[in-house]
């Protein structure tokens, strides 16, 4: 299988630091700010961005966890049920500025589902999107506000984000040809 490394541990760390700075700059601090990570790796990235924000500003915005399974638009197309995991948003999102965090932005369908889910929890004043990788091939009119790295990919390729917390393996982003998977 043909694989290549797009980002290593240090590159991921720098990208997260930069995204944290960009979020604070654009939102002028942490007032009304909250982070919501999309399961599974978006949650890890959101937590890391949150730590970074705390290091910079001294305060930590609330952090939520979103599972989008119940909002997927392809449930009637797939054969076996995805496992539904818990959503945990323990704060009122009405009036907040939400930073939605995911690992890879691809077709945009996950983000569409996440937006639908979020508005069921309340009426945020804005939702911004932060992703580690933007790999193109959008099927919906969705874009990211904060991007770790934009990379051109072929549809036949897979982008894998490996994070210590989820994969018990050193952080890296790799792209591989999909036929074997």
């Amino acid at each position: 299988m043909n694989t290549s490394k797009l980002m290593d541990k240090e590159a991921i760390r720098r990208a997260i630091t930069r995204i944290a700075h960009e979020i604070l700059e654009k939102n002028k601090g942490t007032d009304d700010l909250c982070l919501v990570g999309i399961r599974t790796r978006g949650v890890t990235l959101a937590a890391r961005i949150n730590e970074e924000i705390k290091t910079i500003e001294g305060t930590k915005p609330p952090l939520g966890i979103l599972d989008i399974t119940l909002y997927r638009d392809d449930l009637t197309l797939i054969d076996s049920q995805p496992i539904v995991h818990e959503t945990q948003i323990d704060f009122d999102i009405t009036g907040t500025k939400i930073i939605l965090v995911d690992d890879v932005l691809f077709t945009g369908r996950t983000i569409r589902a996440a937006l639908d889910a979020l508005v069921d929890f309340g009426r945020p004043s804005s939702i911004q999107l932060a992703v580690l990788i933007d790999r193109g091939h959008r099927e919906f009119p969705i874009r990211a506000d904060y991007v770790g790295k934009s990379i051109p990919t072929a549809l036949s390729q897979n982008v894998r984000v490996i994070l210590q917390e989820n994969d018990q393996s050193q952080d890296e982003v790799i792209v591989e040809d999909a036929e074997k998977r």
Binding site: D67, L70, Y71, L75, S80, D120, F121
Partner: protein
């Protein structure tokens, strides 16, 4: 985790331990939905669920209806009085006519054991058994398991006492299957006239001394005395039953501190359970009702969530 392959939910026996655990895990995720401002997710949009109840029900019917509605399915509720069943139509004919209107799932309760199975075998839509005679009530057992696990953190190794009218109880039967499959130790307690013959074959113990059962148990499952199913004389009097097998505060003095008491409802206060115990600290009766919606959402999702197989 093993993926879900079942088309119907007719009884607990047909579920593997892994499938039961999948239901419990999925239920936990669905519980959160009912706490939201907007208590609805679009998952089953465009699906139609028919609740076909040939026996009276409040809790189970409302619970299924709320579960389906919170998943955005359309629901229609039919009870035997006021439908063609009262004109003499057989339940299978009623069900076939409902199928002809392109429904996706039928939730069915009937006084005859096995009726939902007959419908499931004859019809294309999924069928959930919401109670058939004295035989099975699988969603009640699943919500009981969920409640126990949520409160005590585990099922395996727990001592569970099931007290009361075992003979007429589909709740007891489904729970015996489910609890023993997940490794709990089940002891049955009740009047000998209301104890089914050879019930020990299901891997349970019998004990006719309620005080002994109370002292040993982590969980007490108290059953309703089903007067409507008693054509013969099973008991000298209700009062005597209450004195011998009713749970009251006095008896609970010997109980473990974190004992939990379940009851499938509706309760006959003062018969199987005194009012102060039903409303007391050990009671998780309303939690069972709360969890029932989440568990039924999980089951509807698992049965209907993906494309037709």
């Amino acid at each position: 985790m093993k993926e879900w392959t079942k088309h119907d939910l007719l009884d607990i026996q047909e579920l593997s331990k892994e499938e039961i655990e999948l239901v419990l895990k999925t239920s936990k995720s669905f519980k959160e939905v009912s706490t939201r401002e907007v208590k609805k997710v679009p998952t089953l949009r465009g699906k139609t669920v028919v609740l076909l109840f040939f026996e009276p029900s409040t809790r189970t019917r409302i619970s299924f209806e709320l579960a389906a509605k919170r998943l955005s399915a359309d629901t229609i509720s039919i009870s035997s009085s006021g439908s063609s069943a009262s004109k003499g139509e057989s339940f299978l004919d009623t069900a076939k006519n409902i199928e002809a209107m392109n429904v996706d799932l039928i939730v069915m309760r009937h006084s005859a054991s096995g009726a939902p199975k007959i419908v499931a075998e004859a019809l294309a839509p999924s069928v959930i058994n919401a109670g058939d005679g004295c035989r099975a009530h699988p969603t009640q057992a699943l919500l009981d398991l969920f409640t126990i696990k949520e409160r005590l953190g585990r099922i395996a190794g727990l001592k569970v006492g099931i007290v009361g009218d075992i003979l007429h109880s589909r709740v007891a039967r489904s729970n015996i299957w489910a609890l023993t499959k997940l490794g709990a130790k089940v002891t049955l307690c009740g009047p000998a006239t209301l104890m089914p013959r050879d019930i020990e074959r299901l891997g349970v113990d019998l004990c006719y001394d309620l005080n002994e059962v109370i002292a040993a148990s982590d969980v007490l499952m108290v059953l309703r005395l089903q007067k409507e199913r008693m054509q013969e004389k099973f008991l000298p009097s209700i009062r005597e039953y209450a004195r011998m097998f009713g749970i009251n505060r006095n008896r609970l003095k010997a109980a473990k501190k974190d004992l939990i008491i379940l009851h499938p409802g509706p309760t006959n206060r003062g018969v199987e359970l005194s009012a102060d115990v039903a409303d007391g600290d050990h009671s998780v009766i309303l939690e069972q009702v709360n969890n029932g919606v989440a568990v039924r959402m999980a089951i509807l999702y698992l049965l209907l969530g993906t494309k037709e197989k």
